[in-house]
């Protein structure tokens, strides 16, 4: 396999990670744990398949995915902010809910317990899996620009300043009139919409929804956020690193050089190492996961 093909494959695998991680950074920096990324992605993937199937157009699927991810995110935000529920508990509940709802509606709409029928994806002219094919998928472009975009929003805009403030010291933000709750709602909603796009990429790329198709990608994105120490650019680089490891694993398959399970572990092991602080400790936003009364 050529270097170009390797890089193209890495990018292809990285796109959903990049989207989910970009969304997750916004949520975590605002103080809400991104355990729910997996659920947003799964919901987004399902909505993308349904939208694309119903309208016969992938763009409708994309919009549906944004809506689906955003809706789950608002449920999460409402429970965590309005009702002050424990973020870890509802995070897990939202993921279970996404699994349950997609399964239920898979049966209801497509009468299947495993997958949807083939749905339209973005047209690719000419065969191949290289950059040429990737470049024709608009979601790839969104995935590529989302990290710099989120980074710009976070560090260069008033909204980003407020997100960083409410995730670090909500009482301080409130004391100067920053509407803490509203900033958090918006950050979480955005995170759901962006992560939902990651799910849409998966479903439209494979031209169908399959049960549990996100397969832990939301958690890999979360791992990338922590490994990247809550900075969007570093999180993006972590996504690429994890994707490269996966590409390598696919390349090595059959050679028996390293059992695939050990390659699968890489993102998680690196994240634990980062948290344990072997090479500079990863310090989360101070108000992450904390219920606030403002």
């Amino acid at each position: 396999m050529s270097v170009i093909a390797f890089l193209a494959q890495t990018l292809r695998i990285a796109i959903p990670y990049l989207l989910a991680a970009a969304g997750g950074v916004l949520s975590e920096r605002a103080g809400l744990i991104g355990l729910t990324l997996e659920g947003y992605m799964l919901g987004g993937a399902f909505c993308a398949a349904v939208g694309s199937y119903a309208a016969g157009a992938p763009w409708v699927g994309v919009l549906a995915a944004i809506g689906g991810g955003g809706l789950l995110a608002m449920l999460y935000a409402t429970s965590a902010i309005r009702f002050k529920a424990d973020q870890v508990v509802i995070g897990i509940a939202i993921n279970l809910l996404a699994i349950g709802l997609t399964r239920f509606f898979l049966r209801l709409i497509f009468d299947s317990s495993s997958n949807s029928p083939r749905v339209p994806g973005f047209e690719v002219k000419g065969a191949g899996t290289g950059f040429g094919a990737l470049a024709q998928n608009p979601l790839v472009w969104i995935g590529v620009v989302i990290i710099p975009l989120v980074s710009w929003v976070l560090y260069r805009t008033p909204f980003g300043l407020r997100v960083r403030a409410v995730g670090e010291h909500p009482a301080a933000a409130a004391s100067v009139g920053v509407p803490v709750m509203r900033v958090r709602y918006i950050a979480v909603a955005l995170s759901g919409m962006i992560a939902g796009l990651g799910g849409a990429y998966l479903a439209l790329d494979q031209h169908q929804f399959t049960d549990g198709m996100t397969a832990g990608r939301g958690f890999i994105a979360l791992a990338a956020i922590i490994f990247g120490r809550w900075d969007p650019v570093r999180a993006g680089l972590a996504c690429l690193l994890f994707a490269a490891a996966e590409t390598l694993q696919i390349q090595l398959q059959g050679t028996q050089a390293i059992p695939s399970q050990f390659v699968e572990m890489i993102p998680y092991v690196l994240t634990i190492i980062a948290l344990a602080g072997v090479v500079g400790r990863a310090v989360p936003p101070a108000a992450l996961g904390k219920t606030t009364t403002e």
Binding site: W152, R156, T157, P158, G160, L161, R162, R164, A165, E168, H169, A171, A172, A173, A174, S175, V176, G177, V178, P285, A286
Partner: protein
């Protein structure tokens, strides 16, 4: 507008937090262009009243007028827009943001969609030059000193155009030099037509800097007076409602060490505690306490007192020697130090001294749970018997051992801690801020217990931010400043006048 002299008029403000009534019918009149001191004991409702004025809380009843306009129940944003700014006791700064980012947060300068960072830094710099509040605009707040952080807080309010500045206990964390600087800034703000409300419970400050004074007690405003001609005694009387505070046994002369004994019960040599980034929070401290002696540590809070006590108790790693009745405590953990005869009333009962959701009975054995066991289990009969005895002896109310500690008043909570620590078999007592935030009755009770301990031949280390308390109890007074003991005086030589220069760092005898 100009013939309307009042900047602030509050009438009949009521505020409840659940069962707690923080403000009851509070009135406040502050004239334009004056420095007004709002004084009262801890828990008198000063901060709550000012948070209502600054829009953080809505009052349950009452009316608020600012510059002649009725503003009852306004929001923080409305308050800021009307030129009311508050500097909170606990800094409301985001440590991971820069000075400039903190200053503009909430009313950001923009350049198209983006933040105008250069503009913000320039604005902060200009303001800083104009007011004399020097701060580095592009540094992270986490890297600032306490004094610098407070200047950022004041700049924040001025940047928002504050003409009415509220400061909540601004001097608690400042060095004397920084306090003088702050007074100068506040006076120049006043002279430029600004209005300042200063929350404090330090009476010397009040008379020193303010033009007029309002006194609060138990949520209500009880007196208003001009500063010129006001005496500390008059203010104190209004604060506590009777003539106790300053009379707190101020006549106590202390006992000469030679009278009390031979060998020290507690001997501390060259104790050092490092505190994170900054080098030493306790710097080469040595002292000893004899049986039957109370050593009082005076000093502005934040000069290493907390760390010193925690290091002695085993809650914080330290270098040096700590010897209790001939026994080296350094290698011992918290529990073993307790068993060796060290009792500890911690400065923060809500965080350290009590498990608030545990019952009174459980809290009365906290730290001694290993003495109330039968095999692996707790012996509930002995726990209950202990509770009944201590509740009666220390008059803890309500006398119900099954209530969670959370349900008791501050004074009764503190009595639980004091009862527990004084009922155990001890030789040395560490009493850190033993009467903070408790009512006058409980203060008297706790002081009596401390004197009792002294009379029984125990050694007591008393740390208090309240100089009057130190002078009322101590046989010797040490002053801590910048992590060091800068002076140790016998009680007979210790007066506010002799101690003051040491507390403020102006003098150093050690």
């Amino acid at each position: 507008m100009t013939d309307m002299p009042w900047a602030i008029q509050l009438r009949g403000i009521e505020k409840r937090f659940g069962p707690v009534q923080a403000n009851r019918g509070a009135d406040l009149d502050v004239a334009r262009g004056e420095i007004h001191a709002l004084v009262g004991e801890n828990g008198a409702g000063k901060s709550t009243l000012m948070r209502i004025l600054s829009g953080l809380y809505a009052p349950n009843a009452g009316s608020m007028t600012v510059n002649g306009t009725v503003v009852t129940g306004w929001s923080t944003n409305e308050a800021i827009a009307a030129g009311v700014g508050m500097v909170h006791q606990h800094f409301m700064l985001v440590p991971t943001l820069t000075v400039a980012e903190n200053v503009v947060l909430g009313c950001e300068l923009t350049h198209g969609l983006a933040l105008d960072k250069a503009g913000a830094e320039r604005a902060v710099h200009d303001l800083s030059v104009r007011t004399g509040l020097a701060v580095p605009a592009n540094r992270l707040v986490a890297d600032l000193s306490v004094g610098e952080a407070q200047r950022v807080e004041i700049l924040k309010t001025l940047y928002r155009g504050a003409r009415i500045l509220i400061l909540d206990e601004p001097t608690a964390v400042l060095s004397p030099f920084e306090v003088r600087e702050l007074w100068a800034v506040l006076r120049s703000l006043r002279d430029a037509g600004g209005t300042v409300v200063l929350i404090t419970h330090k009476l010397d400050e009040v008379i020193d800097v303010s033009d007029s004074i309002t006194v609060m007690r138990q949520g209500a405003t009880v007196a208003r007076m001009a500063s010129a001609g006001a005496t500390p005694q008059a203010i104190a009387r209004a604060m506590v409602g009777r003539d106790v505070a300053l009379a707190l046994d101020a006549e106590y002369g202390g006992r000469a060490v030679s009278e009390v004994s031979a060998g020290p019960l507690l001997d501390v040599r060259n104790l050092n505690v490092s505190g994170g980034r900054r080098t030493a929070v306790v710097n080469d401290v040595s002292f000893s306490i004899a049986p039957g002696e109370i050593l009082g540590i005076a000093g502005v809070e934040g000069n290493g007192q907390t760390e010193l006590v925690e290091a002695l108790a085993g809650l914080r790693p330290a270098r040096g020697a700590i010897v209790l009745a001939g026994r080296d405590l350094v290698p011992l953990d918290v529990r073993a130090r307790g068993d060796a005869g060290l009792s500890h009333v911690p400065e923060d009962r809500h965080e350290r001294g009590l498990v608030l959701d545990y019952s009174v009975a459980e809290n009365l054995i906290l730290g001694q749970q290993h003495r109330f066991t039968r095999g692996a289990t707790l012996d509930h009969e002995r726990v209950a018997a202990n509770a009944h005895e201590l509740i009666a002896r220390y008059d803890i109310r309500p006398a119900d051992p099954t209530l969670p500690a959370r349900a008791l008043s501050g004074g009764n909570q503190q009595k639980i801690v004091v009862a527990r620590e004084m009922a155990r078999d001890f030789k040395v007592l560490l009493a850190a801020q033993p009467t903070r935030g408790v009512d006058v009755g409980a203060i008297e009770f706790i002081h009596a217990r401390l004197r009792e301990a002294r009379d029984e031949g125990k050694a007591v280390l008393l740390v208090s931010a309240d100089l009057a308390e130190v002078l009322a109890l101590a046989d010797r007074v040490a002053v801590m400043y910048g992590g060091r003991f800068v002076a140790v005086l016998p009680r007979s030589e210790a007066t506010p006048d002799t101690l003051g220069p040491f507390m403020t760092g102006a003098e150093n005898a050690a």
